[in-house]
Subunit: 137 residues, 2 copies
Amino acid sequence: MSASKEIELGQEFKPKFDDNGLITAIAQDAQTSEILMVAYMNDEALAKTIELGRAVFYSRSRQKLWAKGEESGHVQTVHDILTDCDQDCLILKVSVDSGQCHVGYQSCFYRKLQSDSENQLEFVAEPVYDPNKAYGK
Amino acid sequence: MSASKEIELGQEFKPKFDDNGLITAIAQDAQTSEILMVAYMNDEALAKTIELGRAVFYSRSRQKLWAKGEESGHVQTVHDILTDCDQDCLILKVSVDSGQCHVGYQSCFYRKLQSDSENQLEFVAEPVYDPNKAYGK
């Protein structure tokens, strides 16, 4: 099997980190299949996630590991980790409590592009918690 | 409202492309909520997607626009485009025929990490078409 076929069809997990050492990770609700957020992992964050069974990401802005929920309490319990054909992206199947997005919504994807518009969004969700309380601001 | 609050809470669609001019786009089945694939868009691909109502990505390997299905026939009809809090990621809610992944599966995410393993994958799906026929190889 060629190297690329091995990546696509093999059973060895060989996550492909990008030039910055990161891989995209999508947190998806294991029960509802709602996509909650998209973040990034370096190899250490991925190893920690596997070890702990809870999502640990790498914060690009803060340039350090970020255990999801360390400040807000909204941890993500990881049930499964899926990878795609070329192994450069991950899905975390997670269970969560309410309020995963720091803005106050269950999912970070709380807006959609309006029909027949190129630049106007509409809200498709309601806030589920008060981020000012959760983050103590 | 501050600039970052405007991005998070405003109704103006201001997709944030990265240093390479790309934004991550997740194609999610509008009916089943299964995540089908993850790809990238430049501003032209996004504009084309909005214009046509069909997914058009930017291929990083081929460095050109890639109308999903142009070769395989597996087009993605786009019903909604969602963006996340900081507008650096998109979800395309799509409807599709069978077989979205070039390897032959409905979703690119056809393998998961085995329980209690750090490096062994197991298959969680069956192929739904023969890619050798679809791509004429």
